[in-house]
Symmetry: C2
Subunit: 322 residues, 2 copies
């Protein structure tokens, strides 16, 4: 069985929009929902042999930067409800992950009721956690700051992980998918390296997407920084709780990821249909067809099963049984 | 001959300090200068067989974030003068690169006289350009914005390149060498991908350090983004003018860098003595002894000469002849 841990509902009907104050919540029909995924995510899942996608609202549209808590909460509920309906329409094909109603400067406590609703009432298996709800101004404290603890307590109680994933960027220095996403991955990892978050929350699980940002490429740098900062080795302080996906869109990148990161820490993912939708002229295949790169590694059967299924089941234990 | 393109004067005497308003400019003696590099940079250069280091003031101490233009200018002059004295004390061992007196919100024009002084009077071969003088708040426009053009005009006239290098970070979300530096590299590359800066400045040369941040690891992503954004291929729009160093502190990272980036775009560098000073317990050698990784590639003689010397001479044509 092949589980893709990283899919967003990037093909929601155009009528579903939000400008920070008011959102358009049209009554989308089941047929419209089906139409929005049949010829995109579901077709590509069939083509690529992916059985189940862990599916969340469009990351770039979480729009936490608008910063209006009530509107953000309503928008999150709406986006999460659409995911729940898709999960019900396609049993076994999608598992739901929720966006949280975050807003820069707002206590994270206000996001917890929506997490509980999504897990307990809608059957979701995880959440996306935005380490920078300001949208590229980085005004929030590091993820290891106690202000985030209430969310982690709820996640541990519910036994759900978070994917650390930023949203739209309003800072013109950054491009959302070209720099902001990758920077956030690198930033989050370094925050986790510097503190003892997992001593306090030993069962907390975080997925750092996009192959861990710059981290595996600079694995020697991070091992050396841990040493210089007097921190324990990454293998014992961070990696028991942190996982990278395979959203790295060329073979040499995937080769490096598996050369330096234990297969027990890698979850298959494609972020399909997402940041990069084109066909690589060098291969004739979609850049984001990451299964080709993983298959080409020639993993052992045991490692292959970990990366394609078992790690995902360990990180997201609420996934439906096969 | 082996040229290290990326060295900072991280071992300046402790008496040389700056707090944003007043700086301590003690009269450092030549003996003190010698003492500050003999047992660190020079010893390691000899050990590692490096002939010449392109040497600039300590990056993390450029302190542009204090934002006081007059103090920043005085501090830059002082730091650059120390580099010039070291270059004179060790002929042929160091070549000078200057820090610029930048300040967030200040027009870049105010940095140009110091660039001219360093190149024309002190014989420097390049400069370090900080894309985020705010220190991790990213308040400056992208490097492709016309507000930066006056500096590029001066650089082209003087025929000197810039290394794109941030300084200290005051934003608690980031760790200077663990995330801010790498994020800046990735951010700068994406800015260059999105615009036509090198159409306007065909002779402008920029070095993106730390192996290009996350870029080579995500080379497929950037190629795909260029395609999705309707931009020309990276090979024609960016790479004629952009160079990466080899400050990647483990063998798999260096392997990847050379697998995806043309040897004509890679300059040997170590950032020694810098971010990561320890010995890798897996190899028994310093993490930042990047010559070992490059040597282990088994490059052709032609590529080896490019990476160790010829590319640096092309990018920094004011380097002294051997």
């Amino acid at each position: 069985m092949i589980i893709d841990c990283h899919g967003h509902y990037t093909t929601a009907p155009d009528s579903v929009v939000y400008d920070g104050r008011s959102a358009s919540y049209p009554s989308v029909t089941d047929d419209e929902l089906r139409e929005s995924v049949e010829d995109s995510q579901l077709r590509l899942m069939r083509q690529r042999g992916v059985d189940l996608t862990i599916f969340s609202p469009r990351a770039s549209a979480m729009a936490h930067h608008f910063g209006e808590p009530a509107a953000s909460a309503a928008w999150s509920r709406h986006c999460n409800d659409l995911i729940a309906r898709l999960v019900r329409l396609y049993p076994g094909r999608f598992a739901g992950v929720c966006q949280l109603p975050q807003a820069a400067g707002e206590p994270i406590e206000s996001a917890i009721p929506e997490l509980r609703r999504c897990v307990e009432e809608l059957g979701f298996v995880g959440c996306n956690l935005n380490p920078d709800p300001s949208g590229g101004h980085w005004t929030s404290p590091p993820l290891t700051d106690p202000s985030w603890y209430p969310l982690y307590e709820a996640m541990c109680e519910l036994d759900v992980p978070a994917m650390v994933h930023v949203s739209a960027v309003t800072n013109p220095a950054f491009h959302a998918t070209g720099s902001h996403y990758l920077n956030a991955d690198t930033t989050a990892f370094m925050q986790l390296l510097q503190a003892d978050l997992f001593v306090r929350f030993p069962s907390l699980r975080l997925v750092i997407p996009h192959g861990g940002g710059a981290v595996p490429y600079h694995w020697g740098r991070f091992r050396g920084l841990a040493d210089m900062l007097g921190r324990p080795p990454l293998e014992t302080s961070v990696m028991p709780n942190v996982f990278f996906d395979t959203c790295v869109y060329h073979q040499p990148g995937i080769d490096l990821l598996f050369a330096v990161i234990d297969a027990g820490n890698i979850l298959f993912g494609s972020e399909m249909v997402g940041a990069v939708r084109g066909v690589d002229p060098r291969t004739g295949h979609h850049f984001d067809d990451t299964r080709r790169y993983v298959d080409a590694l020639g993993l052992s059967a045991a490692d292959r099963a970990k990366v394609y299924e078992h790690n995902a089941r360990r990180v997201y234990p609420r996934l439906p049984l096969p």
